[in-house]
């Protein structure tokens, strides 16, 4: 008995503290286990089964994963997601960094600008997507103030539909990344700038040779967060295509998360949807791991420079 109790501490006081500690963490830890831990395990297991939610699940081995490789819709969804990443991430990071650099100066009204740039972040993606669907409405939308763009079928042409989806995503993301870049800029040691000035560096040289290198850890972080968020794009696709062809004409707007939703909740193929979910998770995990490894290099670099 006392041997068991010794696990919790040698003295009665230590034991009492250990019990308090366990009691304090119990609600959240148990809740996390039930609502997140178990689903993670189930998600993994379910991808080896075929199940429509009604009949009992049937073991399918690796069939679902083989299907992923053959399914043209999965290929299209992956390609669409990567295309979105290619449009959204450079545009968004460039604009966010630009805004952060401008707002890092001692300018009047900088807080007003910061507030305005951040407003789309607190707007729901659903409301934002609804507004942008209306912006891109052929013949009626705001896009018509640019000559030639008003009559294009933005939301129904397969080669165009990713542009409105990218537009709303960038609009909603700039403010978020701007805040991260601003935090990074404020962490650049002043001494480095002062030293560069003494060495005769002008503003542009200081930006490229002091600010940008010192900002690289943040840039990597922002890049990772951006990749992860692009792989989670769903609301925009759902809202912007539901009025015409859900998921876009022949899947032209279908992203991985949208495909997961359609497979699981429209077609009730839980097993196959779980395999898609696992693929999504592996991709996100891969991006995170790559970032962590690269970041380790950056931290080393930083300490060497400083």
């Amino acid at each position: 008995m006392s041997a068991i109790l010794n696990i919790f501490g040698r003295t009665p006081l230590a034991r009492r503290k250990a019990f308090w500690g366990l009691a304090l963490i119990a609600p959240n830890t148990i809740g996390l286990f039930i609502f997140f831990g178990i689903p993670v395990l189930v998600a993994f297991g379910l991808s080896f089964f075929e199940w429509n939610g009604i009949k009992p699940p049937e073991f399918a081995g690796l069939d679902n994963f083989g299907r992923i490789l053959r399914d043209p819709l999965f290929g299209r969804a992956l390609a669409n997601t990567l295309k979105l990443a290619l449009i959204v991430i450079p545009l968004n990071m460039g604009l966010a960094l630009g805004a952060a650099v401008l707002l890092n100066q001692r300018l009047r009204f900088r807080n007003v600008f910061r507030t305005i740039y951040f407003l789309p972040v607190v707007t729901s993606t659903v409301a934002a997507s609804v507004v942008w669907t209306w912006v891109f409405q052929p013949g009626l939308g705001l896009i018509g103030i640019v000559p030639g763009l008003g009559s294009m079928q933005w939301l129904t042409r397969p080669e165009l539909v990713l542009i409105p989806i990218a537009a709303v995503t960038v609009w909603q993301r700039i403010g978020f990344d701007m805040i991260l870049f601003l935090a990074g800029l404020q962490n650049v040691p002043r001494v480095l700038h002062e030293a560069a000035v003494i060495d005769g560096a002008n503003g542009r040289q200081r930006f490229f040779h002091v600010t940008l290198p010192m900002l690289s850890p943040i840039t990597f972080l922002v890049l990772t967060l951006n990749f992860i968020s692009v792989f989670q794009i769903f609301d925009q696709v759902f809202i912007m295509t539901q009025r015409t062809t859900p998921g876009g004409v022949s899947g032209s707007a279908t992203t991985l998360t949208y495909l997961l939703y359609q497979t699981g909740f429209v077609r009730s193929e839980f097993g196959y949807a779980s395999a898609i979910a696992l693929a999504l998770f592996i991709i996100v995990l891969f991006i995170t791991v790559v970032q962590l490894r690269l970041q380790r290099r950056w931290v080393f670099y930083e300490s060497e420079a400083g």
């Binding site: 919790f8 304090l24 805004a99 609804v130 209306w134 991260l180 967060l225 759902f238 979910a277």
Partner: protein, 293 residues
């Protein structure tokens, strides 16, 4: 060698850094104003459309401001088209409040336990909790749905609230904040005979208000704007949240866009108001959520 004079004549060295030439100043303002215009344009377009009568929706060239503003009439027709819209707003409000308060309770208890108490398995349990942060929620959507259904929670408020009460992210954020509080204060209270819950409630939480406010606004915003999960687990008139209400409105092909914009405007205004009032905490929360992850 060169650093020495800089330190002694701080003002001289500060000048080239802080002084912004008039040219750069003008260019900066021009870019910032153009940027602000683009960020605000969709909001203006939303509000102006929400006040346009049907006849003005299809006028070309496009009009920025309605000729006959009819906001109230459009709002009235929104409630004709979607009679339960206020119910959806109320549902969103209830779910958001319950999730935020619930998370504050479970996560501050757990954060305090992890921050201040030693018990077997502490590091492992903490690492496992944080490990969940890597898993994107979409990846466990299907088992989550099956679990909710199995527990008989589908189409109840329980489905919308209970999973949202537990959070690895809030646990991490609050633990960081609690660990920065000087432990002497808590020890003094302990000697005075206070139990851990009293110490947490009277000392630790009051001293962590900025961190808690940052966490709360982020949680509120995420809960209010949530869409995919509610869509999957609670899509009945009684339990629908406002984001689904907007999606439904837009999904009916005959709904004119002034009604949809009015609905979006009504659903967006509470968050915009909250942000403008508490923006310091929002920005703090974003900086933390991004940087510490």
């Amino acid at each position: 060698m060169t650093v020495q004079p800089v330190r002694s004549t701080g003002r001289v060295s500060a000048a080239p850094l802080d002084h912004i030439g008039i040219g750069i100043r003008v260019v900066s303002y021009v870019i910032l104003i153009a940027g602000a215009f683009f960020m605000l344009l969709p909001f203006i377009w939303m509000a102006s459309t929400a006040c346009k009568p049907d006849a003005e929706l299809a006028i070309s060239p496009i009009r920025f401001f309605p000729e006959n503003p009819s906001c109230l009439e459009v709002a009235g027709r929104l409630y004709e088209q979607s009679p339960n819209f206020n119910r959806y707003l109320l549902n969103s409000f209830l779910v958001t409040a319950a999730r935020t308060i619930g998370q504050l309770i479970t996560c501050s208890l757990a954060a305090y336990g992890f921050a201040r108490y030693k018990f077997p398995g502490r590091s492992l349990l903490f690492a496992l909790s944080l490990g969940l942060l890597i898993v994107p929620f979409q990846a466990i959507l299907i088992p989550e749905f099956i679990l909710i259904k199995g527990l008989g929670l589908r189409n109840t408020f329980g489905a919308l609230i209970i999973p949202g009460v537990f959070s690895a992210f809030a646990l991490f954020l609050l633990r960081q904040a609690f660990m920065q509080i000087p432990i002497d204060l808590e020890e003094a209270a302990e000697i005075d005979g206070a139990n851990p819950l009293q110490i947490l409630w009277r000392i630790t939480i009051p001293l962590s208000i900025p961190a808690i406010a940052a966490f709360a606004v982020i949680t509120i915003q995420a809960a209010w704007n949530d869409f995919l999960f509610p869509l999957v687990v609670a899509n009945t008139t009684d339990t629908r949240v406002v984001t689904i209400g907007i999606a439904l409105l837009q999904g009916q092909r005959d709904t004119p866009y002034n009604l949809i914009m009015m609905g979006s405007l009504i659903a967006t205004l509470p968050m915009l108001a909250l942000f403008v009032m508490l923006q310091r905490y929002f920005i703090e929360g974003v900086a933390q959520s991004g940087l510490r992850r």
